[in-house]
């Protein structure tokens, strides 16, 4: 979010409200404000096809709002008429007759000279997991499974520490190149990957996921993702081929222990 754009714009809209503008001006302000928000207010920038889509929906919505009842309709009709006929609006009318074609021309020029960009492709980062996976021939229920070593945390501190240490060794032999030494997704090879490796220090990754979800992601990797998550581009390996079940639970313990995050609690099975 680009606050330098969004905040002044919201303030301007609020300010305009106090001036009690005519309905036409008010609709126009909304339209322009939303365009500026979509075009300049969001970082990273949205692809223009998406902006176009949103603006089309918005235009329809505003048109609907403006024509919802006879009062509004006639108010709009009046202000349109005033804008076209009245002297006091004449400078604005003639001004817009000059400015709009200039904008159209400038836009056409820019489109013709700008470099083409590949269409952006959306991707669901955290798709719904399958309810069950087959891991090395064994069925694992992803909705209910829990980390078998998690309970050691309270019972047997030494044994728990042993599992975390095991996970640490696995991490630095297998994961560090992508997920980074500090687990921020900035490992040695992260610059060559798109999507970027997950940042485990970020509150929106492992902190909001269940351990069984991580098990699925680690076991099946990029190729195990559903279509909406672009499995063809994800470099996340499917560790089923290299790591055993216990090893994966160990490395999960280490991810949480190193980042100091807590897994999302398992939903109670009904």
């Amino acid at each position: 979010m680009n606050f330098w754009v969004v905040v002044p714009m919201v303030l301007a809209l609020i300010g305009l409200r106090f001036l009690k503008p005519g309905i036409l001006l008010w609709l126009a302000a909304w339209w322009g404000g939303c365009f500026i928000f979509l075009r300049f207010g969001i970082l990273p920038p949205l692809p223009s096809s998406i902006i176009g889509l949103f603006m089309a929906i918005l235009t329809a919505a505003l048109a609907l709002y403006g024509t919802a009842d006879a009062d509004k309709l006639s108010a709009i009709g009046k202000s349109l008429r005033a804008f076209l006929m009245e002297r006091r609006f004449a400078p604005w009318l003639w001004g817009s007759l000059v400015v709009i074609p200039l904008l159209v021309g400038f836009n056409a020029y820019r489109q013709a000279t700008s470099e083409a960009v590949a269409p952006a492709t959306g991707r669901t980062i955290h798709p719904a997991p399958p309810s069950e996976i087959t891991f090395r021939g064994k069925k694992i229920d992803i909705l209910k499974a829990s980390n078998p070593f998690r309970e050691l945390e309270g019972k047997d501190k030494a044994a728990f520490a042993g599992h975390v240490a095991g996970g640490r060794a696995i991490y630095y032999k297998n994961c560090v190149f992508c997920h980074g030494d500090n687990m921020e997704g900035d490992g040695l090879y992260s610059h060559g990957l798109d999507p970027q490796p997950a940042n485990f220090a970020d509150p929106t990754t492992i902190a909001m996921l269940q351990e069984s979800y991580l098990f699925w992601r680690i076991a099946k990797g990029g190729p195990g993702l559903p279509e909406e998550s672009a499995p063809w581009a994800s470099a996340m390996p499917a560790w089923e081929a290299t790591l055993g079940e216990d090893e994966i639970w160990d490395v999960i313990l280490f991810l949480y222990s190193f980042t100091g995050r807590k897994p999302r609690a398992q939903e109670r099975a009904e």
Binding site: V176, G192, F258
Partner: protein, 519 residues
């Protein structure tokens, strides 16, 4: 932020909450440093600092053995230990393109603690009676082309090219023979990519590098042999070899419309006019026989097309050309038969037009969405087509054709020529975006099959030829908009102004007076 708490905890244990003494050598501070080291560094550098942590085997260069006392990045003279400040700087900045990460999140106090602890790992640090001589880097004069030109002679005189190569691509005569102090093969830096320099890419850093040398590596100190007035020219020459401070990696290569002649020389000439795109190459650390340190770190790609074909030129830096033997993209079982391996490169595009966003798996495709995999063996000098359904599902799909592959001063360049609309495979139309990916193998480093360097999917775009100046069509659009606007306004005024609309014009008049318009 966990390490902060770890650090606090360590201080509490050391019993010095009130006065966190951090004087160098103070054992309290070193204990705090040790804790931090055990948590953040020992997995690579080893619990005892011997460079044998659990992750050590997966990096090249290997994590430093702190007991050896050999450090690359110093302000001290060749063979000396680094200063505390030098160590702090390495910890802060890391060493680009190696396993050594940058640690910007540590507080200055934490870095000081770490330095304190690192110094306990080698007894020589304890001897405070010796003060290593330091090399001071004078304030750099402004960069000048002329100085860089002069620097070329100094580069030659001092035999930098024996290791770094004539054009600085790391391909000098002795490059393949070099080993570091621990007996591991080491490559001379590619001076045309200064963003990969371990010790920083500013001109001051380059100055310091050849004055101090890099201990533990064959990179010597030139303090005695390069005269004072020659030092900045040498720096400027090295500096001039790279295009910039950062690689400027691309996500798309644009193929320009051109006349592609029949001969390879002519095609290369046509390609020289297209803008090169640099794509990062990473180790295939994902499946099968993984490759943790690929030899190449980027491929540069140019493309052009005519009505019949698309020409794609792929080039990358390689220390020494391996042309005797053979290579293959087929998944290997890691057999140690060790027939000599040649250098190789492959270009990959989807076999059929992607449905929606869907692409094949970026590593040699998958069963549902295969890839067209064009593999060039630079020993045999031929390109062979494969249909790729993953590394273990590559099947040859066509006769081999002769490749136009050239090696020049540390750089391979290979020309791929592909029909735009082959009988089988993806049609490449103008204005469409085609997914494209690359793999490279360095025979010298034993790379073959899935054990190579790879890229993610990038985009090839066939740019429609430019048709005249864009100003005219833009002006035409503007005029059309003007005409439309004027038509609407005049039509509306005409209608509203008609006698039938008298009521309206009346109200309009009254509004006018109400508003107090003076006119």
């Amino acid at each position: 932020m966990t390490y902060r708490f770890g650090y606090l905890y360590a201080l509490i244990l050391a019993g010095t909450i009130a006065s966190p003494a951090r004087s160098e050598g103070g054992s309290d501070a070193c204990a705090a440093g040790k804790r931090l080291y055990m948590e953040k560094c020992s997995q690579c550098h080893g619990e005892s600092g011997d460079g044998k942590g659990v992750g050590a085997d997966f990096f090249n260069p290997r994590p430093r053995d702190f007991t050896s006392g050999a450090f690359k990045l110093r302000t001290t003279e060749s063979g000396e230990l680094p200063t505390g400040g030098d160590l702090a700087k390495v910890i802060r900045n890391g060493m680009p393109y190696t396993g050594m990460p940058a640690w910007p999140r540590f507080s200055d106090g934490e870095v000081a603690d770490l330095v304190c602890f690192l110094k306990t790992l080698n007894p020589d640090f304890a001897d405070t009676s010796v003060h290593p001589k330091t090399v001071t880097v004078p304030k750099p004069p402004a960069y000048r082309e002329e100085s860089a030109r002069k620097g070329r002679a100094i580069y030659e005189e001092n035999k930098c090219l024996d290791c770094h190569g004539s054009l600085g691509r790391g391909d000098g005569e002795s490059a393949p023979t070099l080993k570091d102090d621990w007996g591991n093969p080491i490559r001379p830096a590619d001076l045309t990519r200064r963003w990969t320099f371990r010790g920083g890419h500013r001109r001051e850093d380059i100055y310091r590098t050849f004055m101090t040398g890099l201990n533990g590596t064959p990179m010597p100190s030139f303090m005695a042999s390069v005269k004072e007035e020659d030092r900045w020219p040498l720096v400027d020459y090295v500096y001039s070899l790279s295009k910039g401070d950062d690689p400027g990696y691309a996500s798309m290569v644009t193929a320009v419309s051109a006349k592609l002649p029949k001969d390879a020389d002519g095609i290369r000439e046509a390609l020289a006019r297209s803008k090169p795109a640099l794509f990062p190459v990473i180790g295939q650390v994902i499946e099968g026989r993984r490759n943790f340190f690929p030899a190449a770190n980027a491929v540069e790609v140019r493309a052009a097309y005519d009505s019949e074909s698309v020409a794609i030129l792929v080039s990358w830096h390689d220390m020494s050309p391996q042309t005797s033997g053979s290579n293959s993209p087929l998944a290997s079982k890691g057999d140690s038969s060790r027939a000599p391996l040649t250098d190789a490169v492959a270009l990959q595009i989807p076999f059929k037009a992607p449905e929606g966003n869907a692409k094949p798996y970026f590593l040699a495709g998958d069963k549902k969405n295969p890839v067209e995999f064009r593999f060039a063996d630079l020993g045999k000098g031929e390109i062979r087509d494969f249909l790729g359904k993953g590394w273990s599902g590559l099947t040859a799909s066509g006769a081999a054709v002769k490749a136009d592959a050239r090696y020049d001063s540390g750089e391979w360049s290979v020309l791929f020529l592909r029909p735009r609309r082959p009988a089988k495979g993806l049609a490449m139309d103008r204005g469409v975006f085609v997914p494209i990916a690359f793999s490279v193998w360095d025979g010298f480093s034993g790379e073959s099959g899935e054990h190579g360097g790879v890229t993610s999917w990038y985009t090839l775009y066939l740019k429609p030829p430019e048709e005249g100046s864009p100003i005219l069509p833009a002006a035409a659009r503007a005029l059309a908009a003007l005409a439309a606007g004027a038509a609407i306004v005049f039509a509306a005024r005409f209608r509203l102004g008609r006698p039938g609309a008298a009521a309206l014009s009346k109200s309009h008049l009254s509004v006018d007076t109400e508003s107090g318009d003076p006119r």
